[in-house]
Symmetry: C2
Subunit: 138 residues, 2 copies
Amino acid sequence: MFSIGELSKRAKVKIPTIRYYEEVGLLAAPERTEGNQRRYDASGLERLSFIKHARDLGFSIEAISQLIELQGHPDRSCQVAKEIVVSQLSNVRAKIKRLRALEKELVRISKGCDGEGVSEECYVLASLADHLLCRYEH
Amino acid sequence: MFSIGELSKRAKVKIPTIRYYEEVGLLAAPERTEGNQRRYDASGLERLSFIKHARDLGFSIEAISQLIELQGHPDRSCQVAKEIVVSQLSNVRAKIKRLRALEKELVRISKGCDGEGVSEECYVLASLADHLLCRYEH
DNA sequence: TCTTGAGCCTCTAGTGACTAGAGGCATTAC
DNA sequence: GTAATGCCTCTAGTCACTAGAGGCTCAAGA
């Protein structure tokens, strides 16, 4: 049995975040000491590690809830899990696509300005003022 | 002179968002009719288009504030503008890098599960539970 | 056993950039 | 004149936390 601070260190998740996960129902409320402090065991650490790993991969709290729900029913089909991962993958790919377009445009804009001129003639400011100067869709 | 609804249509920015920009000081408070409704002119539209364009490129409100401030001083050096763009570019690149790592890992995880098994043996759930199964840094 | 200091508790409010909704007044077109 | 549409302010909600205040608990050393 260990304290929330200990759990925090082991799972590398900040204390307020742990309490937040408990509040929103991701993490089961653990036992308490007589003085009302939380005490966790190995299963708490395991669950929190699962959550952290999924968050690191960009899954939403909602998606993680569904995955945890599924974990609790070992006999259920894992189709939902597969769907969640696939949908997260397409989220990630969409974001990458958009960011690559932004990258291109930002490179182009920054090349137009050496930072040595004066605001009035600045290509950066002109580019932002006028979308028509853009070369790529974004 | 046109109403906020008209401005919204022309700049393709939602009405509450326009009011929000005014509230945080990005957009100057426009004239009002006797009945207290906002009335904009061409310069309002220009400014809002600038803001929208910068937001579409992922600049923060704070960064846009600085850019607008600079616009108001045509004689000032545009070094700050250049810096803002370069820093935004490195933000974008960092995000892309991270997302590409996630993409790889998600592809790998999703390949391990055909969605036809049972939750207990699901590779998706196992992967999330155990970071050691990961092949790529993320 | 007592004390000290680190650790824990709850609660509220703040972050960024909006978005939604309620309740009510203004404008415009017919 | 009236009806429909549009606009006003204000509050609260979104997501996933983060920060801080004020106060209680625990564990280790004297």
